[in-house]
Structures are given as C-alpha cells and as structure tokens.
C-alpha cells in the first residue's frame, strides 16, 4: 500500500469530528442580529429600570436590582450551560461543545463577580455594611470559586486536550454539588440568622418593576450568547492561525513533514 494513495482517506478519518467551517459561517450570520437584539433589550430594559417606581423603603438604590438579579440568573444559567456542554463533550466527544464550555467559563465568572459587586453595593445602603453572610451572597461566592477552579484547570496542562477534558469532569462534579452547597448554605444561614438581614427579591414584586427586570434578563442572555459565539470564533481562528503556521513551516522543511507541525503547536 503506497502512502500517497492512502493520504486522502486518512485525512477524512481524522477529520470527521467536526466542521468548524460551518460553525464559523453560522456564527457570522447570527452575530449581527444577536448584537442588535441585545442592544435593543438592554436599552429598553434600562429605560424601564430608570422610569420604574422607587421602592418606598429602599429608595433609588433598588435600581441596582436590575443589574444584580439578571447577573445572578446568568451566573447560574452559564454554569448550567457549561455542565451541559461538558456532558456533550465527554459523551459524544464533540469539539464544539468543549469549546463552548471553555469559552463560557470566564463569561460566567464575570457575571458572578458582577452579581457579587452589585450585591455588595446594594448591601451598603440596605444593611449598612458591604458584606453580609447572607445565604444567597455566600452561595454566589462559592459559585465564583467553582468558576475560578474551572478556568484554572482548563489552562493548567501543557496538553490542551487534557485540560479541556479535566475541566469537563470538574464542571459535572461541580454541577452535581451546586444544589447540595446551596442547600447547606441555606441551612447554615437559618441557624445563624441575624435580625438585620432582610430578604431581598421577595415574591411580591410589582409588575411595573417586573417587566424591566425581565427585559434586562433577556438582554443579559442575548449578550451572553453573542459573547460566547465571539469567544468560540476567536478560539477557532486562533487554531486556524496555528495550522497555517504549521503548514508554512512544513513547506519550508519539506522532507521531514510529519514532525514539523510540532513547534507551532508547542506554543499553544
């Protein structure tokens, strides 16, 4: 069997795993619409947030809610997304799912941080202190560390594939644990409840406050989708760049073609 004759078949056999080209075309077609819808939702939501009535107890500081609550929702939504993508990546070994999980992680961490910071800012006028060991805030803080762990392990290996798969397992383990942690923190909080902690986001929310909140949440979700696509695109283009470099190296040192891909990849 001659090597030349077998070459096309080999290309197929290693290549059947994904078609990033199609993903890139899809992303390019979707992104402008996503950005537009996102800007629209955020604009409408912000107008609503600043025209909504103020809370008779909290005054204008209640407006922090329109950022804080969607950020909290997105923090949890993103972690769910990562867990689902990781499961798909582990079971079906689909590279795009892997890419999505890895790309989503810093975005989720940013939402979590935003939630913590706005929560702290909101806490100052409400509770008179920057930080309260409130059950929700504490759970979100733990979630933030779960994100940091996910990001850290994804980048901790010289072999990028190993990092991706370790991160996927960690995401699933974390996902199983999130409800348990939430439950235990709630338990702990009710045991050590102090009188100064009042519950925010009580169910009785007036519709004039609800619709801007939901619109903001929609805007946040669209932003997440758009930024996720951009990050995945970025990663894929980076890979293409590395391949082009490898190809150019190969042409330069033609005979030992098989080994010359290495230097370019070693940087990654």
């Amino acid at each position: 069997m001659s090597t030349q004759a077998a070459a096309p078949r080999k290309t197929r056999s290693l290549h059947r795993f994904a078609n990033p080209g199609r993903f890139l075309r899809l992303a390019d077609a979707t992104l402008p619409w996503l950005w537009m819808a996102c800007a629209l939702a955020l604009a409408v939501g912000l107008v609503g947030a600043f025209t909504a009535p103020v809370d008779y107890q909290q005054g204008a500081s209640v407006r922090i809610m329109y950022v804080h609550v969607p950020a909290a929702w997105l923090a949890m939504f993103t972690y769910t997304t990562i867990a689902v993508a990781s499961a798909v990546a582990l079971v079906w070994r689909h590279p795009l799912a892997d890419l999505a999980a890895r790309a989503a992680s810093p975005v989720g961490a940013s939402f979590t941080l935003l939630c913590l910071v706005t929560g702290s800012l909101w806490g100052k006028p409400m509770w008179g202190t920057w930080w309260v060991w409130d059950a929700r805030l504490t759970s979100v803080l733990v979630l933030f560390f779960l994100y940091l762990g996910h990001m850290a392990i994804a980048n901790a290996f010289d072999d990028a594939g190993r990092g991706r798969r370790a991160a996927a397992i960690l995401a699933l383990v974390g996902f199983v644990n999130v409800p348990i942690i939430k439950f235990s923190v709630d338990w702990w909080n009710t045991l050590h409840q102090t009188a100064s902690v009042s519950r925010i986001g009580a169910p009785a929310i007036h519709s004039s406050m609800l619709w801007p909140l939901l619109t903001m949440a929609l805007g946040f979700t669209l932003f997440f989708a758009a930024i996720l696509l951009v990050r995945m695109k970025n990663e894929l283009l980076g890979q293409r760049l590395r391949n082009l470099r490898a190809a150019s190296l190969q042409r330069r040192g033609e005979p030992g073609a098989a080994a010359t891909g290495q230097p370019a990849h070693a940087e990654s």
């Binding site: 056999s13 290693l14 290549h15 795993f17 080209g21 010289d158 072999d159 293409r240 098989a258």
Partner: protein, 247 residues
C-alpha cells in the same frame, strides 16, 4: 473500515483470514484497522493497519517521535484511537475494554516499582491485580536471576536489577498479549537472551507479542511494521486547515 479490508494490511505477507473457529487458539487474532492517533493537538499517524495471528510477533520500527510508543498505548487501550478500531478475534475491542485489559501485559518506559517494598512484594502486587492466584512470582524472579534478591527492598537494587524486575512482571501472571516498549533497554546480554527465550516460549504457546525496539531481538519470523509509513495527512493552508486540529 470493514474487516474484509485485511488485504490492505501493510505488514501481513499472507492475507488469508484466520477463520474464527470455536477453538480459542486458532481464533485468536489481533488486528487494527485504519488506526489514527492524535496527541495533544498533533496527529501522529493515520490509516494504520496491522494483522497479527496467534503466535505472531510484530516489531515496530521508526525513528524517535514517529509514534511507536503511542501505537503501543493505543493497542493497550490506554489511549483511545482517534480513528479506526482494534479487533481481537474479530470483535471490536472498544466494546469490552475490561476484557481487553485482562488479556494484555503492557511494559512502558516506567518501571512501576515501589522502593519501599521488596522485589517479591512489588511483583506479587502486580501479579495479584492481574490474576486470582498470584502464583508465578518465584518463577518469574528466578527466570531473570532475581531469586536471591526477592526479599530485598527495591531501593537497594541497581538500575539494571530494577529493569529486570520490572520486566519479570510479564511472566508473573499469564496474559495472551504482550505489548513491550523498548523491553531490552538497560538489560545485560544474558537478560536479553532470557527475554528472547521467554518471548519465543510465549509465542510457541499461541501468545502474541507487539514490541517497539531499536536494538534488534533474535525472534523467529517477526513481522515488521514501520509506524513512519503511516504519516497523517500533512497540514496544508489551502486544502484543509482543520485536519486533526481539534483533538
């Protein structure tokens, strides 16, 4: 790739398929079809076929970095192949990896010895993981001239003695498939002859051996497989920049 492609098997001089009969010895046949391997983000080899009947020895050759060790790890099911499949007796190995693990001995670059344990304890542990009775430890030690050192902690052994002890692991418990990565490195001439004799005895009993080596071993009628003959499709800028890039 279907099994009837065995005529493509690069290294098989005779492509006569061994009929998988009910008798285990005649049916045992280890084959790979269209195997591809990717490590990190780099493709190592692709489209690799081989076929090994009972009693056969497959000697892997190729320069450093050509993927001999990677191929052995694929054959051991340590590393899942990026493409293709492994067939044992016509059945896909990936369907029952536990059974495949039970039938093989893998000797890699590491010695897997604990310096705190004695030679016999080290060997006994590995034999005990492989086999119910863990019986053949004394014979395995004796074969490589380590009988007197059985109760010595491994930290007191010399590098060559450790190497021999590590290798004697494949004799301590039975397994039909031996996968040996540079088994003769660090061995003295006498131990190399012992190794050759044991490989031949194993083959005579219907066992299979795949080994990577730079130092030619004296084996009867070995098949040669040069991993270098199966390069992955080269990365090209215009044609298909994505080949093998994602895994």
């Amino acid at each position: 790739m279907a099994a009837d492609n065995s005529s493509q098997a690069a290294s098989a001089p005779s492509a006569a398929p061994a009929a998988p009969s009910g008798r285990p010895r005649a049916g045992v046949r280890f084959a790979g079809r269209d195997l591809g391997c990717v490590r990190g983000d780099r493709a190592i080899f692709a489209g690799l076929d081989f076929d090994l009947p009972a009693g056969g020895a497959l000697v892997l050759s190729g320069p450093n970095g050509s993927g001999k060790s990677s191929l052995l790890r694929v054959l051991a099911s340590l590393l899942p192949p990026a493409a293709g499949q492994l067939l044992w007796d016509g059945a896909d190995v990936a369907r029952d990896p536990e059974a495949h693990r039970a039938r093989l001995h893998y000797q890699g670059h590491h010695e897997a010895l604990k310096p705190e344990l004695t030679a016999a304890e080290n060997l006994g542990f590995w034999a005990g993981l492989q086999d119910k009775s863990a019986g053949a430890v004394a014979r395995a030690l004796a074969r490589f001239g380590l009988a007197d050192l059985a109760d010595q902690p491994v930290r007191l052994l010399s590098a060559g003695q450790r190497r021999r002890l590590s290798l004697s692991r494949i004799l301590a418990a039975p397994a039909p498939l031996w996968l040996l990565d540079e088994p003769s490195v660090g061995l003295d001439a006498r131990s190399v002859r012992t190794l050759e004799a044991e490989i031949e005895a194993h083959r005579a009993a219907g066992g299979l051996v795949v080994l990577a080596t730079h130092q030619p071993l004296d084996l009867a009628d070995p098949r040669a497989l040069s991993v270098d003959d199966f390069p992955p499709a080269p990365v090209t800028a215009d044609d298909d920049p994505w080949a093998g890039a994602l895994w």
